[in-house]
């Protein structure tokens, strides 16, 4: 018996001892680095949301032209932005509206936006005018830039219609600081209704780079004349009413590149025309009739295509775009995601055809 017992006792002692040692080593190891030993994803995905909400204080609410108010929204260490960027304002009613930033990009303590009251609009501008008084708080998301200023163009031509001057103003200031070659045509109904007119004219200086056309004085702007003698590779930027943008597109010489900024891409019934979508992997082409979403058309062919909110915010229906220009109408995707994908529940083709990786 004793011959059997001794090794057993020794084994028990050995096992207990090593278990205690292992526990101590483990505890020390965890203490030294609490996250040991799980691997990590090399490029983390979480913690980099597409957009963030900030709550800002309205510190100024002033009229800058007939029917136009300018708001100064103050905060701290605000995200940086480039000329052409816009901000999403989450209005007290919950509505979300986009407004171009028209202040100084160097200022990290405030954002400036200006809005025109649209009497028969969807209520957003009325809310900005009537409810966002000085001292009130407003939630914003962004900024994002759908209308970036190209860096290396030899010369620039801007066409602004009324409140459409807002994204262009910071561009002019930036170009002026750089000493670039630029011209502006600023059109509006009356001089009194055109915001930032004085500043735009001052930026233009004596050299006649800014021409102002008020409908009640000078009639229609001469777009063809403005664009006709532009240098090759001139970058043309236009922001204003749909009619003005169409006119600029029509008058554009072949050697110029056009950049447009639309005010409210989601409301207008126009631009909902028919086109076709090729599903490259399925080897099928489906027509998208006017007024029907890409999702609805694709679902008929691919019944299990994923989607959910059907309003362009949840992101479930995102699909890769292989060819074709997209008219993005979602409110979710980042600029780089928009380069090669779209939310098929709301976005459409700019042209006549899209090719999806589906």
């Amino acid at each position: 018996m004793p011959r059997l017992r001794t090794p057993r006792l020794r084994t028990v002692l050995l096992v207990t001892g090593s278990a205690l040692l292992a526990r101590r080593a483990l505890r020390r190891r965890i203490q030294a680095s609490p996250l040991w030993p799980m691997p990590a994803l090399e490029e983390p995905v979480s913690g980099r949301p597409r957009a963030r909400a900030l709550r800002l204080l309205v510190t100024r609410h002033e009229s800058v032209a007939d029917g136009v108010v300018q708001l100064r929204l103050e905060g701290q260490d605000l995200p940086a932005w480039e000329p052409g960027a816009h901000l999403d304002l989450v209005l007290p009613s919950g509505l979300i509206r986009q407004y171009s930033l028209c202040g100084d990009p160097e200022d990290t303590s405030s954002y400036t936006v200006a809005t025109r009251l649209i009497a028969d609009g969807r209520g957003g501008s009325r809310e900005v005018h009537e409810q966002l008084q000085e001292g009130s708080e407003i939630e914003v998301r962004g900024p994002r830039n759908r209308f970036p200023l190209a860096a290396g163009a030899p010369s620039y031509v801007f066409v602004a219609g009324g409140i459409g001057i807002t994204p262009i103003l910071p561009m002019l200031r930036a170009l002026e600081a750089r000493g670039a070659d630029w011209r502006l045509l600023y059109a509006g109904r009356t001089r009194a209704s055109m915001p930032f007119l004085e500043e735009a004219e001052k930026l233009g200086g004596e050299r006649g780079r800014v021409s102002v056309v008020a409908e009640d004085e000078g009639g229609r702007p001469d777009l063809a004349g403005l664009l006709a003698d532009s240098a090759p590779d001139t970058a043309v930027y236009c922001c204003g009413p749909e009619g003005l943008m169409e006119a600029v597109a029509a008058a554009l010489p072949g050697h110029c590149e056009l950049h447009l900024e639309r005010f409210a891409p989601h409301t207008s019934a126009d631009g909902n025309g028919p086109f076709e979508v090729e599903l490259r992997r399925s080897g099928r082409t489906v027509p998208v009739p006017a007024g029907t979403s890409v999702l609805a058309a694709v679902r008929a062919e691919v019944p299990n295509v994923s989607y959910s909110c059907e309003q362009g915010f949840c992101g479930t229906c995102q699909q890769r775009v292989l060819e074709g220009e997209v008219d993005h109408r979602d409110e979710l995707l980042t600029d780089s995601e928009r380069d090669d994908s779209m939310l098929i529940c709301v976005s459409r083709a700019r042209g006549e055809r899209l090719v999806l990786d589906l």
């Binding site: 609490p34 996250l35 799980m38 691997p39 990590a40 994803l41 090399e42 983390p44 995905v45 979480s46 913690g47 980099r48 949301p49 597409r50 963030r52 909400a53 900030l54 709550r55 905060g75 989450v90 009613s93 919950g94 509505l95 979300i96 939630e139 998301r141 989601h266 299990n304 994923s306 989607y307 959910s308 909110c309 059907e310 309003q311 362009g312 915010f313 949840c314 992101g315 479930t316 109408r329 409110e331 709301v346």
Partner: protein, 305 residues
């Protein structure tokens, strides 16, 4: 109770509501680091949600997109589609808290990068041949989600009723995030289980995946709480312990350990159906008054953007 009744899991009452994603938006700049005043442990124990959910719920969406072709019931498909959108919004909303933590000196990236690995790699689409192996792995993940959803519904129901958090002066925005999320979890609590029953429903798989999900949740949760306590720049020598968790449960600022233990046999019961847990009416009532959910309602009138 009579034994002749069918033992197949079925809803207690037809409380079905149409599921839809709500376009919520939260701003965090006014939320303090310890959003339950003077209680870093409870704050951080709940904060672990922000570490797990962005990657976790993204993974739910990823898996469910693949399971859509297996659904042969239109009503269930509709539920799953609503579920996917809600989960996508949960993931986005919690993700937006993380940069705020970082700005306050508590960088969550070392931990979230691991959670990302866990869901994207370990539980991601493995290199499997098409056919049975791939389907097995898909069904396994569908069952895992059903088990996890048992706990999200449990937590949702808990947070909707956790009045002690209000009494402690917890940050209203954070409470609204947790309760909006909790209410949607309660609202859609049956979907994941019904989907699992529809596409597979094996009892052995249910038990196996429950054990996996439960251990993973416990492992990740205690690790997250320890991580936060040790890295919180305002807490000296911070430690997370089970004892404190137990006490938090007693005080009502955390789920009670007893209730958690009791929920285990319920999920494993053969007659389990998620509708036996929580109250849809309470969830719907909360959503009707939630600041974030009512604002979301205003910005999406009748589907017109």
């Amino acid at each position: 109770m009579s034994n002749t009744q069918s033992r197949a899991p079925r809803p207690v009452a037809d409380e079905r509501v149409a599921l839809k994603a709500r376009r919520v938006s939260f701003s965090w700049d006014r939320t303090p680091l310890h959003w339950i005043p003077d209680d870093p442990f409870t704050t951080h124990t709940i904060n672990v949600l922000h570490l797990l959910l962005p990657a976790g719920e993204r993974w739910f969406v990823h898996v469910y997109k693949q399971v859509l072709p297996y659904i042969r019931d239109d009503r269930l498909r509709e539920d799953v589609i609503g579920f996917i959108g809600q989960e996508a919004m949960h993931s986005q909303a919690h993700d937006e808290v993380l940069p705020h933590l970082k700005e306050q000196g508590l960088d969550p990236t070392p931990y979230t990068a691991q959670v990302d690995w866990f869901f994207e790699k370990l539980l991601g689409d493995r290199t499997l041949p098409p056919g049975r192996a791939r389907e097995w792995w898909l069904m396994e993940r569908v069952a895992l989600i059903a088990a996890i959803e048992h706990y999200t519904a449990f937590l949702g129901d808990w947070v909707l009723n956790a009045d002690e958090l209000d009494r402690k002066g917890a940050d209203p925005t954070m409470l609204d995030l947790l309760r909006w999320h909790g209410a949607e979890e309660v609202e859609h609590r049956s979907v994941a289980f019904e989907l699992f029953e529809h596409v597979d429903g094996g009892y052995r798989r249910r038990v196996r995946t429950w054990a996996l999900a439960f251990s993973a949740l416990m492992f990740l949760w205690q690790r997250g709480a320890r991580f936060f306590m040790e890295n919180d720049p305002t807490v000296l020598d911070g430690k997370a312990s089970f004892k404190e968790f137990y006490r938090g449960g007693k005080r009502g600022v955390l789920p009670s350990t007893g209730a958690m233990v009791k929920s285990i046999p319920r999920y494993l019961s053969r007659s389990y159906h998620p509708s036996q847990e929580g109250s849809t009416a309470q969830a719907v009532a909360y959503l009707a008054g939630s600041p974030a959910a009512t604002a979301a309602e205003a910005r999406t009138p009748n589907g017109a953007v």
